[in-house]
Amino acid sequence: MSGALPIERVIPPGAARRRLRGRDPLLAGCVVVIAALVLMALLAPLIAPHDPDASDILAANEGSSLSHPLGTDSVGRDILSRIIHGARLSLLGPALVVVAATVGGVAVALVTAWRGGRVDTVASRVLDILFAFPGLIFAILAVAMFGTGLVAPVIALSIAYLPYIARVIRSAAIRERALPYVEACQVAGMSPLRICWRHLLPNLLPYVAVQAAVSFGYALVDLSALSYLGLGVQPPSAEWGRMVADGQAAILNGNPEASLYAGMAIVVTVLAFNLLADRLVRRTAQ
């Protein structure tokens, strides 16, 4: 999975105009889970029961207790506190990737859809070349260049995800641009930039939201994979992928909790974002 799962979701044409009202408990559930994760990250110092980095070698590999609800890891740090604090770095990276890739992708999509012709052809060629690099390999190359940490992989993944977002938004934008109202705006003397900003972009927002949600999940998987490999966030900082790797040695001694809980945090987050994207597709497509 880590690497090159394509992050496109296909939305049928015209989806943006037909919105389904009514309840969707699964969608609501995803929103609640994501909101809780964000709150957890923001309020980590307030809600975490312990210092995430305070180790107590005498209390290593403890099971679940009142003071340590998820137990402690191999150097006696509180697993729950580390997962709560880990949410900060684990969610920050993907958020940055999504914002950068979405802004870039939408800009490329609008320009190519609006100008068409040679601009479109050249941009498509460049995007095709970018498709040849799976995000993870691209990120590893960036780490080789700039060293370990979060910055290089975030930049690399932003570039690697951009073409996927651009491709989906571009085809939606081309359909939208062909609608009569765009021409009416042009006849009325509106500038292209204004038409794009005031009309095209708002109508494309559902597509953008879906792509952003899917990208978030995959960015989280790729970034925590890098940290898992020791190429991303460095110890002792709490980060979920890093925690999975740190806990792996203890599995052999029969103490898999640290790894498993961190892995679970990743799965729950990715699942929430993937399902959110699915429900958004369904909501806009019906």
Partner: protein, 308 residues
């Protein structure tokens, strides 16, 4: 087809420039990396000469690329060995792992997708399970599998690649499952969608109206036509499995190309990183060409020009 091929060659060329250029532009002086911090200016000088570090970019790139075409990818400074031999020593394990995982995806993903599309009741369950499956990263699947099947039950070895074919398969079983899991789910979902779409086509109704047996309709009209999108998805899957080995070899301490790339990246062994990256990108490009060729073989509309 020829223009497509030329496009892929161009992609490969640009990719090689990016791979080489990226590390060329990397901050820091490679000679200090090679010689260590305590090196005298003299040793640095000789190292710069030995590795051609002062030559202009295009000369070094050309020397590297022409070497790469001949199979000479330079020398790794951490292993003091040629990159080519380091790769060829490990490529067997990686290839076997990818082939194993791909076989699992073929049997699991494609089959589940077809069944899910044709049997609506099974379909709902397959969709639910595969949505969860897609969200499980390979390294998380790896630690769960190690915990349950290697440590708790002791059915499979925890680490290592084994010796002899059967023993290697044995050692690679858990890694292959971990690697294939999310892709299984992904392929199952897309196969299901493709088969479902094909089952609604008008020509399927034609065959049905002629009294063709349901099994023959599924084979000749539904699955046969769905093979075209499925091939594309399987191409993406191979590329993803190749990238995924980088992570999963680390999880299971396998001695393959992927773990070699991670080590090379950590130690800034540029020649090794460049060599492996080039190999991986070449594989992606070749897989793309393969998918195009297969699609042309499966879809006559891509073979012949449309006549008016």
């Amino acid at each position: 087809m020829l223009t497509r091929l030329a496009g892929l060659l161009l992609t490969l060329l640009v990719a090689s420039v990016v791979i080489y250029g990226a590390l060329y532009l990397a901050p820091g002086d490679p000679s200090t990396l090679l010689a260590g911090n305590k090196a005298t200016p003299r040793t640095l000088e000789s190292i710069r000469e030995q590795w051609h570090l002062d030559d202009p970019f295009y000369e070094r790139y050309w020397a590297w690329l022409s070497g790469a075409v001949r199979g000479d990818l330079g020398e790794s400074f951490t292993y003091k060995q040629s990159v080519g031999s380091l790769i060829s020593d490990r490529i067997g394990t990686t290839t076997l792992l990818i082939a194993y995982a791909f076989a699992l995806v073929l049997v699991g993903g494609v089959l589940l997708g077809i069944v899910g599309a044709l049997r609506p009741r099974a379909g709902a369950g397959i969709t639910a399970v595969s949505s969860v499956g897609i969200a499980v990263p390979s390294y998380v699947a790896a630690i769960v599998l190690i915990t349950v099947f290697a440590v708790e039950l002791g059915w499979f070895p925890v680490f290592g690649d084994g010796t002899g074919f059967l023993d290697r398969l044995w050692h690679l079983t858990l890694p292959a499952i971990a690697l294939a899991l999310a892709w299984n789910a992904y392929v199952a979902q897309l196969t299901k969608a493709a088969v479902h779409e094909e089952s609604l086509r008008d020509h399927v109704a034609t065959a049905r109206s002629r009294g063709v047996a349901e099994g023959a309709i599924v084979r000749r009209h539904i699955v046969r036509n769905a093979l075209i999108p499925i091939t594309t998805v399987l191409g993406i899957t191979i590329a993803g499995l190749v990238a995924g080995t980088v992570v999963i070899e680390q999880s299971f301490n396998l001695n393959g190309i992927g773990s070699l790339l991670v080590q090379a990246t950590s130690s800034k062994d540029f020649a090794l990183v460049q060599g492996i990256s080039l190999l991986l990108v070449t594989i992606f490009v070749v897989v793309n060409v393969g998918v195009d060729l297969l699609n042309a073989a499966l879809d006559p509309r891509l073979r012949t020009e449309r006549r008016p």
